[in-house]
Amino acid sequence: MSTDTPTTEATVAEAHDDEAHDHPTDAKYVRIAILLAVITAAEVATYFVDIGPALIPTLMVMMVVKFFYVAAWFMHLKFDSVVFTRFFVTGLILATAVYCIALTASEFWSKG
């Protein structure tokens, strides 16, 4: 959206509310970012170091962990209303399930 989003007109309200929850400190955010950076480094390392058949599972686990940390902490899902999480997770699970089925029906796993 352009110059200003409609959301800019938004509200006072939520701010008060948010303070009620204990928001993490900046230091916490930085620590998480460092963690994310480390995982990313590990991910990239797999490109240079051959770890054999464990490669794809390892990559997936690291991806999910990163995904989770960003969503939980930076996007505040960890301390915000569970309704938000539900929306997001519903979309996520639905997308994963549906497209995995579609890939299966397209013989993606067997034919790459």
Binding site: T3, E9, V12, V83, G91, A97, A102
Partner: protein, 668 residues
């Protein structure tokens, strides 16, 4: 509201750094309609547009039937026929049934949950105008003599540039893309509305079934629209920028289109039917004078249908060459959708059981849905047996199936809704006598038209053929079907007559008194027709069918006795100083830009410039227009709640008592 906006407006004359756009004054007449942000007016707009498109799509259907009435028909040529049937399908699905459902949803959902409006009134107006822009854009194809001709599911590569070199399929891809944006915005808006705007005490499980079904549909839209968005983008890129997604010559995969289309397409068919299921679930209890039987089961079966609808799409691809294992899996998943649907059908029957049934037009249509939809549903189950489907698919047996579920399910349901809610919307009832004529001609015509298509299909008549040869045994039933459509047309005529005559009869008379049907849900608290501000004051909801419970109670013998008359219970509709969102120009301006961009993509990229300019200008203006027009009839801008006019402002909702979180938790 936030100081930010306050400053913009109250900050006054000199200090308006970026300019403030004044809001329209309402004024009356047509200007009122194009700037309105009132969910009721938007609902009526949706309904009117859908009806208009229904005449267009119906006219196309008449041409189809005339062409096929006899073998070797010559009413239209092959080329034109292919355009007509494609546009018929696209129009009926995307420009008739979906917007008609949106009409009911818009008008009734806020009323049924006891809200003043939807959560984002301006976005609501935007959804409508964007939908209309998409619909008109699509139909512009006729003016350019180049309508889409690839069937409503537009299988590639027949729709790629090599095989569809004209602009028809561009109209399809862009038109549906635009209409899709409208649906998506509306879905998000209504979801937030249901979650956040309910009347005090109205937990999700005190919402009427109609509201529930609308909610489920919005979720389906929310998740299904992006899938077809992807598909349409890929098609557009293939056609216009030389990408190779569906182009087998370059190694692309035509089945990818089919998967994407049907991942959207099957949820789409439940998007078409669930609103009607909702309507039927309101009409039958009212006229059987009993609460809906098995409320929770009705709700959960709706949710179950919504969920299961995501796992069955490949039943449209049983013969496409996907492997037998996939076919088997989708066979099974498809069959079991019959279970929750059956639960609904049987609960409707159980609602009627032991009731006192008033068989007026609304009830006739609603019970018509119960039996006619069942025919379509059962033929659906016969398709789901994949081996049997290899004989049925792409024949008129399929055409029969989906017209039974769509016409016999969705459309008849909407007619039930018209008769039921007409007084709510327009202040007078539709005539009963004509209503019954309407019903009987339509139901007979419908069966005469589509019943024979089962036979035609099983006798081997393919669909999408512009003509057939004599000697295959198709002559008789095609003629019968063609006769049938004229009976349907007669039924439609009775409806149109009814609308006109009942309006004429009501002229000068006082509006229908409150509660004409001894109804059950919140929308009937308001007088007829609904006043602009909806409710005078909030309604404390303590049970499902709150309205009914305010009128009736049970005595010590368990007998139902009246405790108040409708007139006592209903609100007067005379509240003053109700603060309402001001109208806005920008929704219609923004949507006007989109077809321009579309034409630009097709004919001359420069056209995109004014299109994009319109959209950007509208967004900019949207953001900076004042919350209210101080002089307008709508706002009375000087109250301390100098908020945004739109609920968009999000406002204080969360600040007060920290509303109950548990029920929110019950969302899916």
């Amino acid at each position: 509201m936030s100081e930010q906006t306050a400053e913009l407006t109250v900050g006054g004359d000199a200090a308006q750094p970026l300019g403030v756009y004044s809001r329209p004054k309402g004024g009356g007449g047509w200007r009122d309609w194009i700037t309105t942000v009132d969910h009721k007016k938007i609902g009526i707009l949706y309904g009117g547009a859908a009806l208009l498109f229904f005449f267009v799509g119906g006219f196309e259907a008449l041409l189809i039937r005339l062409q096929l009435a006899t073998p070797n028909g010559t009413v239209v040529g092959a080329d034109l026929y292919n355009q007509i049937y494609t546009m018929h399908g696209v129009t009926m699905v995307f420009l008739v049934i979906m917007p008609m459902a949106a009409a009911f949803a818009n008008y009734l959902l806020p009323l049924q949950i006891g809200a003043r409006d939807v959560a984002f009134p301006r976005l609501n107006a935007l959804s409508f105008w964007v939908f209309l822009a998409g619909g008109l854009f699509l139909n512009c194809a006729w003016l350019f003599g180049d309508a889409p001709d690839g069937g409503w599911f537009a299988y590639s590569p027949n729709t790629g540039v090599s095989f569809s070199p004209g602009h028809g399929m561009d109209f399809y891809a862009i038109g549906l893309q635009i209409a899709g944006i409208g649906s998506l915005i509306s879905a998000m808006n209504l979801i937030v509305t249901v979650l956040n705007m309910r009347a005090p005490g109205m937990t999700l499980f005190k919402m009427p079934v109609f509201s529930w079904m609308i909610l489920v549909v919005q979720f389906l839209l929310l998740f299904a629209v992006p899938v077809i968005t992807v598909a349409l983008f890929l098609l557009l890129f293939d056609r216009n920028f030389g990408s190779n997604f569906f182009n087998p010559e370059m190694g692309g995969d035509p089945l990818l289109w089919q998967h994407l289309f049907w991942i959207f397409g099957h949820p789409e068919v439940y998007i078409l039917i669930l609103p009607s299921f909702g309507i039927v679930s309101e009409v039958i209890p009212t006229f059987a004078r009993k609460p809906i039987f098995g409320y929770e089961f009705m709700v959960f079966s709706g949710i179950a249908i919504g969920f299961m609808g995501w796992g069955v799409w490949a039943h449209h691809m049983f013969v496409s060459g996907i492997g037998p294992i996939s076919v088997g899996a989708f066979t099974l998943s498809t069959m079991f959708i019959a279970v929750p649907t059956g639960v609904k059908i049987l609960n409707w029957l159980a609602t009627m059981w032991g009731g006192k049934i008033r068989l007026n037009a609304a009830m006739l249509f609603a019970t018509g849905v119960v039996s006619m939809f069942t025919i379509g549903g059962l033929s659906g189950v016969t398709h789901s047996l994949s081996p049997a489907d290899t004989q049925q698919t792409d024949t008129y047996y399929i055409v029969a199936h989906f017209h039974y579920v769509i016409f016999g399910g969705a459309l008849l349901g909407f007619f039930a809704g018209f008769y039921f809610w007409w007084p709510k919307v327009f202040g007078h009832k539709l005539g009963e006598t004509l209503g019954k004529w309407n019903f009987w001609t339509m139901i007979v015509g419908f069966n005469v038209t589509f019943g024979p298509m089962h036979i035609l299909g099983l006798n081997g008549m393919s669909r999408r053929i512009d003509t057939y040869s004599p000697g295959f045994g198709f002559e008789l039933w095609n003629m019968v079907a063609t006769i049938g459509v004229f009976i349907i047309a007669l039924g439609v005529l009775f409806f149109v007559l009814n609308v006109i005559l009942s309006a004429r009869r009501a002229r000068g008379l006082p509006p229908e008194p409150p509660d004409p049907w001894d109804a059950r849900s919140l929308e009937w608290f308001t007088p007829n027709p609904t006043p602009v501000h909806n409710f005078d004051e909030d309604i404390e909801v303590s049970s499902l069918d709150e309205f009914w419970h305010r009128k009736w109670t049970t005595d010590e013998n368990g007998k139902v006795v009246r405790k108040a008359t409708a007139a006592e219970v209903c609100q007067a509709g005379d509240a003053e100083n109700v603060h309402l969102p001001s109208p806005s120009y920008w929704p219609i301006v923004m949507s006007a830009g989109m077809p321009l961009i579309g034409f630009g993509l097709m004919y001359n990229l420069w056209l995109c410039v004014p299109g994009a300019a319109l959209v950007l200008m509208a967004i900019y203006a949207w953001v900076f227009e004042p919350p209210d027009d101080p002089d307008g009839p709508f706002g009375h801008g000087h109250d301390d709640h100098d908020d945004h006019g739109d609920a968009e402002a999000g406002d204080e909702s969360a600040s007060d008592e920290g509303a109950p979180q548990e029920e929110a938790a019950s969302v899916e």
